[in-house]
């Protein structure tokens, strides 16, 4: 925390673990949509790690999942500027 984070993240759901409680949709409505049977539809586009609001709600969703089916996964941003030449 407090570190400027480069790169992006996506939420990933383990569909086998998921039982459709729907907590993730409540906790991170911007990142998780829900289908007609109550199972999460995760937004596919990565979110920048610098987006603190989204990252925080993603963390809430991960912790709030009763089945522990959610994970935050870091994806490398396509063009990470080198720190120093």
């Amino acid at each position: 925390m407090g570190v400027i984070r480069h790169g992006e993240f996506v939420l990933r759901v383990d569909p086998v673990q998921c039982d459709g409680f729907g907590h993730c949709h409540e906790l991170a409505p911007d990142l998780v949509d829900i289908d007609e049977w109550g199972y999460p539809i995760i937004r596919r586009e990565p979110t920048p790690l610098a987006d603190h609001q989204s990252l925080r709600s993603a963390r809430y969703a991960v912790r709030g999942c009763p089945r522990q089916a959610l994970h935050i996964e870091r994806v490398e941003a396509p063009a990470v500027p080198p720190r120093r030449a």
Partner: protein, 421 residues
């Protein structure tokens, strides 16, 4: 075996397994070759189980894994009800498959080979058992295993999980490629037909393999043709053979309504698209793949929507019910298709819902089972577009209510009857 001739895999008498002596007399002795994987790469052999992944790449990937013990699994589960190629192959040249498996095992550094045949295919199980007993020991441990005959039990992760943990359930893999593991040891899993091709390439080499087939698409493939044909058959064809020629060889309905390609999770090709060569590249231009070599012909007397509905209803029942989108989504799709089949007031809504649900379900299972069904339904709506319009307008075709159904769909078992162990 002379180059440029067919059949190769099915050489001999169909449905009479060649004994080991006969096998050696026809194909010659198998000598271990050190450069097998390079030869496979040069031959351009791709997997025949459906994904058409380059066999050499996969084998190298497993060879480069660390581990003092490795396994080779031959997938002869053949869960597609319309596919009979692996059963026929094992009933004709079982030792060719075992040769290929042994060669692959040597090439990747494995000492154990497992041949997996669904336990309800009793004849095949007997034939493989006999082949295994009459085969001389050559330093590789060969073993037959019989998982339950579920559709998804032949999915690679489900099969390995059954071998490991006695449960035929597909596993969630967050990242691919993934190394499948049996007792924590790396597993090379290949389709039965692929392995038989390896048995031939190990003997005769890549140039011989490419003496048949289209440029860039070498070799032959087994095709199970069923549906509106005189007799359902398995043919061995050179890749690049015109599809029309395959249909003619199987004595199919001369003016079919459409053809289902690849398997029950495959693609429908409308009658106007049938002038195509049977190989990966040509079929990809039509959005199709050879898949597991299944061709189901639907004639004018049948209703494509009804066939699709029957297949989807069965596929929905074969879901392992692990993932919500598959467990709930596929039955919902089957229901929508039934409404569309019956025509009338709900048909238009059903069609709209179908398209929306297909988009929602896709890509959200642990395995590709739901994706296959979605692909099949989407291409059905395109291939039978005129019929769909008629059904929506309340004029279901004659075949929708009565008439012959052509796709072979097993009896729907009750959820409690489904055996996963």
């Amino acid at each position: 075996m002379r180059p440029g001739t067919l059949p190769r895999l099915l050489y001999g008498t169909p449905n009479r397994p060649a004994s080991y002596a006969e096998h050696v007399a026809t194909f010659g002795d198998l000598t271990a070759r050190a450069d097998l994987l390079d030869e496979l790469g040069r031959a351009g052999l791709t997997g025949r189980g459906g994904a058409a992944f380059p066999t050499a790449t996969k084998a190298r990937f497993i060879r480069d894994q660390r581990g003092h013990r490795k396994f080779v699994v031959v997938n002869a589960m053949e869960g597609e009800p319309a596919s009979h190629k692996d059963a026929l192959l094992l009933a004709t040249n079982p030792h060719l498959v075992l040769d290929g498996a042994e060669s692959l095992a040597r090439a990747v550094g494995a000492r154990d080979v497992v041949v997996a045949v669904a336990r309800d295919r009793t004849t095949t199980v007997e034939q493989v058992t006999r082949a295994l007993t009459e085969r001389p020991d050559r330093g590789i441990d060969l073993e037959l295993q019989t998982p339950p005959g579920r559709y998804v039990a032949g999915e690679e992760s489900a099969l390995v999980h059954w071998l490991d943990n006695n449960e035929s359930l597909p596993q969630y893999r967050a990242h691919r490629p993934v190394v499948l593991r049996l007792e924590k040891h790396p597993v090379l899993l290949d389709n039965c037909e692929t392995v038989a091709h390896v048995g031939l390439i190990a003997r005769y080499g890549a140039d011989w393999f490419a003496s048949v087939g289209a440029p860039g698409q070498p070799g032959s493939a087994l095709v199970s043709v069923s549906g509106a044909v005189e007799h359902p058959t398995v043919l061995e064809v050179a890749l690049g053979t015109p599809l029309a020629q395959i249909l003619a060889a199987a004595k199919a309905d001369p003016s079919p309504r459409a053809v289902l390609l690849g398997g029950y999770g495959g693609t429908w090709l409308a009658a106007r698209d049938l002038a195509v060569a049977y190989d990966l590249r040509s079929l990809a231009e039509r959005g199709a793949t050879p898949g597991a070599g299944v061709v189901v012909v639907v004639g004018r007397a049948s209703c494509g929507i009804r066939e699709t509905q029957r297949i989807v209803a069965w596929m929905a029942n074969e879901s392992a019910r692990q993932c919500g989108p598959c467990a709930f989504g596929l039955p919902a799709i089957a229901q929508d298709l039934a409404r569309l089949r019956d025509g009338g007031g709900d048909a238009r809504d059903a069609r709209r819902r179908l398209e929306q649900r297909c988009g929602v379900i896709e890509g959200r299972g642990a395995c590709r089972h739901p994706d296959g069904v979605v692909r099949m339904v989407r291409t059905a709506l395109a291939a039978f577009a005129e019929d769909v319009a008629d059904h929506e307008a309340g004029r279901p075709c004659a075949g929708a209510r009565a008439g012959a159904t052509v796709a072979s769909v097993p009896r729907l078992e009750h959820e409690r009857e489904l055996v996963w162990e």
